[in-house]
């Protein structure tokens, strides 16, 4: 038995031709976050602290679709979600519909540790964030030019798309009637 850590930055139809200028910063972020997590485990930090630490770092990177760089709703807004769970106790906390909280994962942990509930959403979650004094920012902080462009492309293609999947033209028949997937 020994420590182990794994992390992800999303899955989808990531093109094999992904340009170097888009691939390199994402790989660098993965490496940085992995190093951070490994150092924390080597320092005997509890796994719950380690996963929160790593996910906060991923949220703070605009390379990935959480926190800064969150993808946009059809209205051009951000609605962020997060969840954390402790394997020993089965304690867990989750949040949805956040538009101003910088690190949703830390608010999820506060839901787990400071409330009798496991899931808060939208206005209630935002109010809880203010009550707990977590860092908040104007919603514009989370919106990147790249994601404005992605939303524009998705709307033109009339599609909802998962991470990194390229929009398919609206007249494509290769969707088996399910327009929910890009």
């Amino acid at each position: 038995m020994g420590w182990a850590i794994a992390l992800h930055g999303g899955a989808g139809d990531i093109p094999f031709s992904l340009p170097e200028e888009r691939r390199a910063p994402r790989e660098a972020t993965l490496r940085h976050c992995l190093d951070l997590g490994v150092a924390a485990l080597r320092a005997n930090r509890p796994p719950l602290d380690v996963v929160e630490l790593v996910v906060r770092e991923l949220e703070n990177s605009p390379c990935y679709n959480a926190g800064k760089g969150s993808v946009l709703t059809t209205a051009g807004t951000v609605e962020m979600e997060a969840c954390i769970m402790d394997g020993n106790t089965n304690n867990c906390g989750a949040v949805s519909g956040l538009s101003t909280v910088v690190n949703a994962i830390s608010l999820a942990r506060l839901v787990m540790e400071k409330t009798p509930h496991i899931y808060l959403a939208f206005d209630g979650a935002e109010a809880f964030a203010r009550e707990q004094g977590v860092e908040i920012m104007d919603p514009s902080h989370f919106i990147t030019p790249e994601n404005i462009e992605r939303l524009k492309n998705a709307k033109e293609a009339n599609r909802v798309q998962i991470d990194y999947t390229q929009p398919i033209k609206a007249n494509s028949t290769n969707d088996q009637g399910d327009s929910q997937i890009g």
Binding site: M1, G2, W3, A4, I5, A6, L7, H8, G9, G10, A11, G12, I14, P15, F16, R23, E27, L30, R31, C33, L34, G37, P46, P47, V51, V54, V55, L58, E59, Y64, N65, A66, G69, S70, V71, L72, T74, A75, V78, E79, E81, A82, C83, I84, M85, D86, G87, N90, C92, A94, S96, G97, I105, R150, A154, V160, Q161, I162, Y164, I181
Partner: protein, 132 residues
């Protein structure tokens, strides 16, 4: 979506996932990430964080199913995760998971998944596409 799972050398496990959801999603849409047992789960057997199309991950209760296959059927982490990912429609899911004894697995049925892992034994991997 981003996520992380970890186990220390005492077998303590934890999982965390965070997301902005889907591009062009409807306002008010809830995905798999915050739903316990769908995109995120941890128990004394394993910790799992999933990514992909939330609606498919919720239908398949992906994260909890991995843990359940280990707990009820005695599968290894790799076997359980591979079985669950295979059952979800192709192109819809990826996950990272660790077990209490330090196993790591990162299967996906999409074209790629941004992922990384490390173990105390010295194994380390950073990858996007399938590695043969």
């Amino acid at each position: 979506t981003v996520g992380c799972v970890a186990v220390d050398n005492h077998g303590n496990l934890a999982s965390a996932t965070s997301t902005g959801g889907l591009v062009n999603k409807m306002v008010g849409r809830i995905g798999d990430t915050p739903i316990i047992g769908s995109g995120t789960y941890a128990n004394p057997f394993c910790a799992v964080s999933a990514t992909g199309k939330g609606e498919s991950i919720i239908r398949a209760t992906v994260a909890r199913d991995v843990a359940a296959l280990m707990e009820y059927k005695g599968l290894s982490l790799k076997e359980a995760a591979a079985y669950v990912v295979e059952k979800v429609p192709k192109g819809n899911v990826g996950l990272v998971a660790v077990s209490a004894n330090g196993e790591v697995t990162m299967p996906f049925n999409t074209t790629g998944m941004f992922r990384a892992c490390a173990t105390e034994e010295g194994y380390s991997e950073i990858a996007i596409w399938p590695v043969d």
